[in-house]
Amino acid sequence: MTEAEGRVRTSAGIGLRSPHVAEVMATRPAVAFLEVHAENYMGGGPALAALDRLRHDYPLSLHGVGLSLGGADALDARHLTRFKRLVDRVEPELVSEHLAWSVAEGAYFNHLLPLPYDEASLDVVCSRVVRVQEALGRAILLENPSRYLRFAHSPIPEPEFLGELARRTGCGLLLDVNNVYVSCRNFDEDPEAYLDALGVSGIGEIHLAGHAENEADGRRILIDDHGSRVADPVWRLYARALERFGPVPTLVEWDTNLPELAVLLDEAAKARHLLEAAGRRERDAVTA
């Protein structure tokens, strides 16, 4: 294990968005790693140049949002080539994508859209994950999406679907704790039961973010907008996840209403404290 992997393994990082790049470059805050959206770095110019510099000081996590691994349309070969070129160039510690789709009939939605979970869709996603992992020459992590609808025919529960995907392809999981909370609350399900349904191994990264609470036709609906601090119940669910899965590199994401960098760093520090406590518990358990 390299030193960089060690840092990723035990601590907390931040999602790096373009308005914060200059400040991060200038102040080099003490975070364990930086995560960027792969699709924002597929051109050249100052964005890529900044990433080239930052990767020498921070372990990187490359988070794809456009491979549409849950899509029935053919995998976009040009996009996969660009993805691989970026992976080869910046040598990230972690590479992740989503259990979602984003393109149909040639139209890209730049959003993580839901798919029904059945044997047929499991086969589709597995074949795509295998192809991506073969192209990249490494395993990827797959993230659970936030969900606002359910399909009438979707017989496999999401944690089981993810577990089977990991078992068949060798991919790891990126557990987005906020997404678990949002999805479960939107369908009156128990978020802790969701965590319990996931296998204890194979979680390679955790995501945390804020969500919003909206109303539609008198019904409360939680929206995963990454636009505020992590909500208290999500922190509690995160602590519960660390009890179950042990310390896992954790990322705080913020995309809309982007705050001062200091606020994001403060959220990452909170995650780090919980991670350190989980690490102590794990060591105590070993020495006891």
Partner: protein, 263 residues
């Protein structure tokens, strides 16, 4: 039971407004209508794409006002959704869309302002490329030089307008004098837009230089670029124009003339 492809096609069409969300029979209401559930996704899709277009076209947005911009790009997104997953590549056809969009047809200069903003966006994100070492062009025969194709930096593009779109753009930057008035009849411009270091810059070119550089950018060989330049202005000096082009670091490659086989 529908296939995954059919489910996704139905959802995609409903998101773009081609079908009512209610027709997506595969979705459970769970206390809401299926259409309302799809609406959550549609809102997110449209707000992401609208934000991306606003980031690429801030001056157009300011000129038409943000509410009209949101209305126009809503129509644009439905008509021309992204063809790829990188948001910085979305919106190239917005200038043509605006030119044909009846509610803003009276703003005749608007499509060219949009073309300038697209050129700036393209320059910012273009692939990196190293300038060509000029010594590599030494020793070419005059005939060989005529058939030489020079590859310009991927960030460079050329834009001609009968409106002073450069002044319109500058007058609508943050910090610009809010009382400044741009005379739209002040004459047209021929602009070169490119990346210089980390910045995007644009400047106005003389007619012959513009003709020469834009002919090369369009893939023409040196002979064709010279013809275009001479047609545009008799003052054209090839040696000097070529040296300036190399000094500007705009040439990143050349393809040697193919030897003619047979004949």
């Amino acid at each position: 039971m529908q296939s995954l492809r059919d489910v996704e096609r139905d959802v995609a069409r409903a998101l773009l407004g081609e079908a009512d969300g209610a027709v997506v029979a595969s979705i459970l209401g769970d206390g809401l209508s299926p259409a309302a559930r799809l609406g959550v996704y549609r809102n997110h899709v449209f707000s992401t794409l609208t934000d991306a277009l606003e980031a690429t076209y801030p001056v157009v947005c300011r000129l038409v006002d943000p509410r009209f911009f949101a209305y126009a790009v809503d129509r644009y997104i439905r008509a021309c959704p992204p063809a790829g997953p990188c948001l910085f590549e979305y919106g190239e056809s917005l200038p043509e869309f605006l030119a044909a969009f009846p509610p803003c047809r009276h703003l005749q200069y608007l499509p060219d302002v949009a073309r300038l903003e697209w050129a700036i966006n393209r320059a910012l994100h273009a692939e990196d490329a190293e300038p060509l070492d000029p010594t590599r062009l030494r020793g070419l025969s005059p005939d060989g030089a005529a058939r030489l194709a020079l590859r310009l930096h991927p960030s460079a593009s050329f834009l001609e307008s009968r409106w002073p779109v450069d002044r319109v753009w500058r007058a609508n930057q943050p910090g610009a004098d809010p009382d400044a008035v741009v005379d739209l009849d002040a004459g047209g411009v021929r602009l070169e837009v490119r990346r210089l270091g980390d910045d995007v810059v644009f400047r106005s070119l003389a007619a012959a230089t513009y003709a020469f550089r834009s002919a090369l950018a369009a893939g023409g060989d040196l002979e064709r670029a010279v013809e275009a330049a001479q047609a545009a202005g008799p003052e054209f000096d090839l040696t000097q124009t070529l040296r300036e082009l190399l000094d500007d670091g705009l040439v990143v490659g050349s393809s040697a003339p193919r030897s003619r086989v047979g004949a």
